[in-house]
């Protein structure tokens, strides 16, 4: 073992008892080793005694701040990881609930364009209309507080019904003095047709378009006595309005 390094190890108390004892004896008997040993010890003392004690309070405060931040983020992480499934469940339930809520709120809102699609088959204009059907026609209109001159606007085929959601809608195919069949839809509820626009200055009537079998028909929508009526035909809105006025006016 190198004696020079051993002197440092001796000064640092890093030698075994046997090594230290042997080296101490040599140090005592050798003046140059003794001087070297003393010089090492003195230098160690000098460095220890005269090195500065630096002011570190500010840095320590910054460290405490960092630790506080770390603890806060750990708390949040721990909370999130522990309750992540619960969060997901609540979120899922909220989405499903919101969907039901929206559906419920908007349950009375339908699209006029869809009303034609639920009657995919046109009424047969050659099918005989029985007296009872005529009576039903009259009573339906009567229920909707609509009156009609049967000679001016007559039923061309039996009324037929279809479901839109949970609402049963009746369609009457009517013929007036002009060519082309008019379709009158009777909805037994107050519904809002979201794809219609108010017709002129009368806010109670709105106009839109319904989709039929490959065709689009102008339509007018209005309410009467808690029911909603849709009059559609391959005509101008003004012509439809004239028919509607006759229905309402009589």
């Amino acid at each position: 073992m190198n004696e020079f390094l051993d002197l440092h190890a001796l000064a640092d108390g890093e030698l075994s008892v046997e090594q230290a004892t042997g080296l101490k004896q040599r140090v005592q008997s050798d003046a140059s080793l003794r001087r070297e040993h003393e010089a090492i010890l003195n230098l160690k003392d000098l460095v220890r005694d005269k090195s500065l004690k630096y002011e570190s309070d500010e840095c320590w405060k910054a460290c405490v701040g960092r630790l506080n931040e770390l603890d806060r983020s750990r708390k949040v992480n721990s909370f999130v990881s522990r309750y992540a499934w619960a969060f997901c469940g609540v979120l899922f339930a909220a989405i499903v609930g919101a969907r039901f809520f929206v559906k419920d709120v908007r349950g009375d809102s339908v699209r006029a364009a869809d009303i034609g699609r639920i009657f995919p088959i046109q009424g047969n204009p050659h099918a005989p209309v029985t007296p009872s059907q005529m009576q039903e026609y009259a009573s339906l209109l009567n229920l909707a507080k609509q009156a009609v001159d049967p000679n001016a606007l007559h039923l061309v085929c039996p009324p037929h019904q279809a479901l839109m959601g949970d609402i049963s809608i009746t369609r009457l195919d009517l013929q007036d003095g002009h060519s082309g069949v008019l379709e009158l839809y009777l909805v037994p509820a107050q519904v809002n047709f979201e794809d219609t626009q108010p017709l002129g200055s009368d806010p109670s009537v709105s106009a839109g378009v319904i989709a039929g079998n490959g065709t689009s028909l102008n339509c007018l929508v209005w309410s009467s006595d808690g029911r909603t009526l849709v009059l559609a035909g391959d005509r101008q809105e003004a012509d439809l309005e004239q028919v509607r006025t006759e229905l309402v006016g009589h």
Binding site: H8, V47, R48, K50, Y54, S56, C59, V64, L70
Partner: protein, 186 residues
């Protein structure tokens, strides 16, 4: 769990606050820059807190200074690109040292803060300086220094001997003046 974490935090803070002057002083002596030293000390404290569960409970000072030193070697040293000297074998440690050609290439340390000791440390290359700081200022054992600097104990011994030789050369007049060395002796 929450209380466990709070207890851990309190225990860590209690131990670290007491030793923080050593942590900061070592960081400052290694980096020679107050700004870098503050960053290094803070990062070391955060890492120590992260790893506190793995502390074996024996020597907290050696453990935390090991983190400071490792962090310095792995991160700050490359950035600072200070003078690098490979570990010397034990024979090399006996060679005479010239203080003139070992001056650091950057004198970042605020001289106003330094005494003769600090200025002498600043002039010693970082590998040797680290050994002297950890041994003579912080009182770590060879084994603890070896673990902190990730070198064998033999290398620690040679670095320490060479670092002290450099310090002696630089501090000879001062040590004599202060009565730590007798006149006419090296």
């Amino acid at each position: 769990m929450l209380f466990g974490r709070r207890d851990k935090r309190e225990a860590f803070e209690r131990q670290t606050e007491r030793l923080f002057p050593s942590v900061f002083g070592t960081a400052l002596r290694l980096t020679r820059s107050r700004e870098d030293a503050e960053d290094l000390a803070q990062e070391a404290i955060v890492r120590a807190y992260d790893a506190y569960d793995r502390f074996d409970g024996t020597n907290f000072k050696a453990w935390i200074l090991r983190i400071v030193t490792n962090l310095y070697i792995n991160k700050y040293r490359q950035r600072q690109r200070g003078p690098q000297m490979g570990s010397l074998d034990e024979e090399g440690a006996l060679e005479p040292v010239s203080a003139d050609n070992e001056l650091p290439d950057r004198l970042l340390f605020d001289n106003a803060l330094g005494t003769e000791i600090e200025q002498a440390l600043e002039a010693v290359p970082v590998d040797f300086r680290t050994a002297v700081i950890l041994s003579d200022i912080e009182g770590l054992s060879y084994q603890e220094i070896a673990e902190a600097t990730d070198v064998p104990i033999g290398t620690v011994r040679s670095r320490l001997a060479r670092g002290r030789s450099m310090m002696r050369k630089i501090l000879e007049d001062y040590a004599t003046r202060e009565g730590y060395l007798k006149q006419g002796r090296e």
